[in-house]
């Protein structure tokens, strides 16, 4: 997310933090979850599963907001997230726009 300035409530806002679960051998490697995860948590791995598909791996679970989109888009019922805990909005993750 790109902000022009730090939001006033940046220190109070808690962002949900999710844990991603993948049943590897159920996945057929369609990449819907990888493409549409809004926070780019997932990436295609070189690994094959038992069926011979390349499957997603969890690249940066830190960014998962437990939004549930991967679960809803997966045609195989192979991926989902659960709520880990609320965490503070990361100021480091805040990209301030160029001030001209």
């Amino acid at each position: 997310m790109k902000y022009w300035r730090a939001p006033y409530d940046i220190n109070e806002v808690k962002i949900a933090h999710g844990q991603v679960h993948i049943i590897k051998d159920r996945c057929k490697g369609c990449e819907f979850c990888i493409e549409y995860c809004p926070t780019d948590v997932l990436e295609l791995s070189d690994e094959f599963n038992a069926k011979g598909y390349h499957i997603p791996y969890i690249k940066n679970e830190e960014n998962c907001t437990n939004c549930g989109l991967c679960e809803m888009l997966c045609p195989e019922f192979a991926i989902w997230s659960t709520l880990k805990k609320g965490r503070k909005a990361k100021v480091a993750g805040l990209v301030l726009g160029k001030q001209e």
């Binding site: 057929k28 493409e35 195989e76 019922f77």
Partner: protein
């Protein structure tokens, strides 16, 4: 990592897990449409003993076998006819027909017309992948003009049906169209449709990478779904005559019809009140 205990996907309680993994190809959108349906059931907090799913034959027709509900896998084209019987037999049930474009609009077109005309209280979820997928990719009444299929090797010359327009003309009270990737909107549409008394139709635009894409060279399932999603424009209440789908062009999605008409059961009960006195008393006829 996850070896410790068996991980359970949240949808598993609504699926017949002994049949999963399902038969659908990688990148096929039908599984996503099923998730929208199961999520809708969760949102509705539906009594699962009162929901019945009926499918015909086709890839989409397999849905009835995967959902853990009372379900019928009927003959090709007939799910709406079966559903009508079920609804009349037990009007308490929420009846959902989940099937393909060929099943519902081609061979089953007549049942579609007349269930809409009678306004039978049911929800039709029609997965439109523009083709007869299960049987090897033949031309369907939904195949866009010029698209290749195994039975239109020089491109399709038949004008396709516009499902929402057909539904409206025949009398449906709720009509929406979304792609399988509009997952939250699709889920909400299914919720609304299931709450609507009368004949409701939700068309789901979906990918068939195996047949429709292969012969038309449209890439894999993700490419197809991305194309449909990126080329969708949301226009609620758009007149249904504008909802034709041209080959690889813009697709108008949204909720188009939401109107009131007495359902078949309402009309039947009212009529019965009116004509009751004409019915000869007989021990066989019991209506109070």
């Amino acid at each position: 990592m996850a070896k410790k205990k068996k991980e359970i996907h949240p949808m598993e309680s609504l699926l017949r897990m002994d049949r999963i993994p399902h038969i659908w190809c990688p990148g096929c959108g039908i599984g996503t449409a099923v998730t929208a349906f199961t999520s809708a059931l969760e949102k509705l907090k539906a009594d699962l003993n009162k929901v019945c799913v009926i499918s015909g034959i086709g890839c989409t027709g397999r849905v009835a076998g995967y959902v853990k509900l009372d379900s019928f896998h009927t003959t090709h084209g007939r799910p709406i006819a079966f559903a009508t019987g079920i609804k009349l037999g037990d009007p308490e049930l929420k009846v959902v027909v989940f099937s393909g474009d060929g099943d519902i609009i081609a061979i089953g077109g007549n049942h579609f017309m007349h269930a809409a005309r009678r306004n039978i209280d049911m929800t039709v979820i029609c997965v439109n992948n523009f083709i007869y997928a299960m049987t090897g990719g033949q031309v369907a009444p939904t195949t866009p003009l010029t698209a290749y299929t195994t039975t239109s090797p020089y491109g399709n010359v038949e004008v396709p049906s516009n499902i929402p327009q057909l539904a409206e003309a025949c009398g449906a009270v709720y009509v929406a169209r979304w792609t399988a990737l509009h997952i939250r909107r699709l889920t909400n549409a299914i919720v609304e449709a299931m709450q609507k008394p009368g004949f409701s139709v939700v068309e789901v635009i979906s990918s068939c990478p195996q047949y429709y894409s292969r012969i038309n060279k449209l890439g894999d399932g993700l490419d197809m779904m991305k194309f449909y999603h990126d080329n969708s424009v949301i226009r609620h209440n758009e007149p249904t005559e504008n909802l034709d789908i041209d080959y690889q062009k813009q697709i108008i999605v949204g909720k188009f019809i939401d109107r009131e008409r007495p359902t078949y059961m309402d009309s039947y009960k009212k009529w019965l009140e009116e004509v009751k006195h004409q019915i000869p008393k007989s021990p066989k006829i019991q209506n109070t």
